[in-house]
C-alpha cells in the first residue's frame, strides 16, 4: 500500500455506529440507558484501481455496513471515505453526488430481492443509463441493453421478460448487467454468490473475473467464504467485531496468516478436498457489538491472550505485505504454523 499505486478508494478511520436505544418513554420509565451498536470502528484501507479488495468475517463483523457506507446508502458516524479523490460524505445535494454514483455500482447477495419484480429486465438494466442521462429512450438504448445482456451471457430477447422467469444465477447476471450499464469504475459486491449453488457460483465468479480483465474494473468483495476470497482477491482484510484485525496481500494472508483469528478461521473452513482433517477449532461465539470487549476484541476467544490483550487495544503492525493488529505478533509470542498445503506456498508469490 505504498503511495505510488493508483488508489481508487481510500477509507480513513471509518466508524459507523447505530443507535439501538429503547424509546424515550421506556428509558424514562425503566431507567434503561442509551445503547449503541459499534458496527464499524476506525477501519482504514485502500483499494488499488483494477484490483479486488475482499473483506471477510463472520456475520455481524461490520463488512456489509462498510459496503453500504461506501455505496452511499449508510452515512458514516466518523472518518471518511474518499473515492477518486473526493470525500463522499461531503456531497450536499443529490446532483453533486451523481458523477460519483455513476462510477460506483453495487451487486447484492439475494438475487430474488435485488431486482424489482414488477419491472421488465430491459427497464431494470436501462435504469442507471437513464438516471445519469447517458442516453435517451429509443433504439440505441435497446441496442445497448441487448449488448449488456450479451456481455453477461444472456439473450437479447430476455429484455422483455420479468425477473421471476429466471433462475437465481441468471438473475445475478441481470444484476451484473445493471451494474455495468453506466460504465462504472468500481463495483461493490456484497456476497454476490452466497445465495447460489456452487456450479452457478463458478459461472458468476468466472464472469466477474472476465469483466474485470476486459474493463479494468475495481471490486470491493464482501464475503464470508474464504475459498471465494482466495479465488478472487488481490488484497484482503479480515474483520472481527467492527475492526480490521489483519489486512494486506491476499496470497500472503491465506498462506501465512498471522492474526490468531485469521488462523482459526482458516482452520475452521470445511474443505471438500481434505475430508475429516483434525485441526483447531474456534471456540465460543462472537460477542455482542452492543458491548465489545475491552482491549483486543478477540481476546475472550483467543488462545494466546494475556492480561495486556484484555487491557490495551493492539495497533496495526506491518509484517511483510500485511498489517496485523495483535500483541502476540508484536511480542513474538506467535507459535509457528505448519504450512497447510504446499500449493499455497507455490502460488503465494505471484500475487504479491
Amino acid at each position: 500500500m505504498s503511495g505510488g499505486k493508483d488508489t481508487l478508494l481510500s477509507v480513513d478511520r471509518l466508524t459507523v455506529r447505530f443507535d439501538a436505544s429503547p424509546s424515550l418513554i421506556k428509558r424514562l420509565l425503566t431507567g434503561a440507558r442509551r445503547r449503541t451498536v459499534h458496527a464499524v470502528e476506525e477501519v482504514e484501507f485502500e483499494v488499488t484501481r483494477g484490483s479486488t479488495f475482499a473483506l471477510v468475517g463472520e456475520s455481524g463483523c461490520g463488512k456489509s455496513t462498510i459496503a453500504r457506507t461506501i455505496a452511499g446508502i449508510q452515512p458514516p458516524s466518523g472518518g471518511s471515505v474518499s473515492f477518486m479523490g473526493v470525500d463522499i460524505a461531503g456531497f450536499r445535494t443529490r446532483h453533486a453526488a451523481m458523477p460519483y454514483r455513476r462510477n460506483l455500482q453495487m451487486i447484492f447477495q439475494d438475487p430474488y430481492a435485488s431486482l424489482n419484480p414488477r419491472w421488465r429486465v430491459g427497464r431494470i438494466i436501462a435504469e442507471p443509463i437513464l438516471t445519469h442521462g447517458l442516453m435517451k429512450r429509443g433504439v440505441a438504448l435497446d441496442e445497448r441493453v441487448a449488448e449488456l445482456l450479451d456481455t453477461v451471457g444472456l439473450a437479447p430477447g430476455d429484455a422483455a421478460k420479468f425477473p421471476h422467469q429466471f433462475s437465481g444465477g441468471q438473475r445475478q447476471r441481470i444484476s451484473i448487467a445493471r451494474a455495468l450499464a453506466a460504465n462504472p469504475a468500481f463495483i461493490v459486491c456484497d456476497e454476490p454468490t452466497s445465495a447460489l449453488d456452487v456450479s452457478v457460483q463458478a459461472q458468476i465468479l468466472n464472469l466477474m473475473k472476465r469483466l474485470q480483465r476486459e474493463r479494468g474494473l475495481t471490486y470491493l468483495l464482501i464475503s464470508h467464504n474464504l475459498a471465494v476470497v482466495a479465488h478472487m482477491a488481490d488484497a484482503m482484510g479480515v474483520m472481527y467485531l467492527g475492526r480490521l484485525v489483519e489486512q494486506g496481500d491476499a496470497g500472503q494472508i491465506l498462506a501465512r496468516p498471522l492474526h490468531p483469528y485469521t488462523r482459526l478461521l482458516l482452520d475452521t473452513v470445511p474443505d471438500p478436498r481434505a475430508p475429516k482433517r483434525a485441526r483447531a477449532r474456534l471456540a465460543g461465539e462472537v460477542p455482542s457489538p452492543l458491548a465489545p470487549p475491552t482491549g483486543c476484541a478477540f481476546h475472550p476467544r483467543c488462545p494466546l491472550a494475556n492480561a495486556r490483550c484484555a487491557r490495551e487495544r493492539p495497533l496495526p503492525l506491518r509484517v511483510e505485505a500485511a498489517l496485523v493488529a495483535c500483541h502476540a505478533v508484536e511480542e513474538g509470542r506467535l507459535p509457528s504454523r505448519p504450512p497447510a498445503n504446499e500449493n499455497c506456498l507455490a502460488t503465494s508469490g505471484d500475487a504479491a
Binding site: 452511499g72 451523481m98 455513476r102 453495487m106 430481492a113 424489482n116 438516471t131 445519469h132
Partner: protein
Amino acid sequence: MSLAALRHSLGNWWRGDLAYRFRRSPVAILAALVGLALLVAAMGAPVLAPYDAFDPAAANAADARLPPCVEGMFGDVYLLGTDPQGRDMLSAMLYGLRTSLVVGLASVAAAALAGVLLGLIAGYFGGVLDAFIMRAADVQLSFPAILIALLIDGVARTAMPAALHAELAVPILIAAIAASFWVQYARTVRGLVLVERGRDYVLAAKVTGVSTPRILISHILPNVLGPVLVIATINLALAILTESTLSFLGVGLPSTQPSLGSLVRIGNEFVFSGDWWISALPGLLLVLLSLSVNIFGDWLRDALNPKLAS
C-alpha cells in the same frame, strides 16, 4: 401500446396464475358475472329503464304503491310495482343502483388515493411525518365511520344553502365516506413500504442515484398495489352499504336522486301496511350487489396470497 402488444399482454394474463385460479373457481366467476351484470344495468339505466326516475312527470300519483305486475290506471304495466309517488320501482332501482355504484366507486377511489399517498410518505420517510400521519389515523379510527360521515354531512348542510347542498350532495357524500375509509389503506401501505424500502432493489436504485419521488412512484408503489386492490374491492361493498345507510337515515342524497338506501327508507313506512316490495326489492338488490363484490374480493385476497396458492 399497439393492438398486437395489447393482445400479447392480455394473452399472457390469461395464461397466468391468477387467470388460471379464476377459471377454476365457479364462485368467483359467478360473483364476477353478477357484479358485471349489475354494473352494466346501472350504467345503462337511462336506456334500460322503462321510465325516467328523475322526471316527476313520469310519475303518476294515481298509480302509487302498486304491487309488482299489476296494471296501472292508464294501462302502464309496472314489472316491480310502484313507490308511494307512483314511480316505477324497476326504473327507480336501476337509477338507484347507478347512484349507489357511482358513490361507492368514487369514494373508494378517493380513499385509496389519499390512503396510499399518506401510507407511502409515512412508511418511506418515517420520523415526525410518520408519527403525525399515523396519529391522525388513530384518531380517525376512534370514531365509527358512520359518525364521521354524519358529521361531514351535517357541517355541509348547515354551512351551505339548501339548493347548493342538493347540487353538491353526491361529492359531499363521496368525501364523507372516503374520509372514514382512508386509514385502512394508509396503514396497510405503510406496513408494506417499511418492508419494501429495505429490499435490495430499492437500495440498488438509491446506489444508482435515482431520486426519491421516482423510487416511491415507480419502484415501491407497483409492489404494494396488490393488497390495495383487495382492500378496495372489499371496501367497495362497505362503501355502498355506508351510502345506503346514510341515505336510509335521511342524511345522504335528496329524494330527487334515488339511491338504493333512500328507496328502502321510502318503503320503510309502508312495510307494515303490506306494501313490502317498496323496501324489500331495493334491499334485495343491495344484498346481491354487496354479496357479489364481497365474494369476489375474498377470492381475490386468497388468489393473491402466495401462501394459500397451490
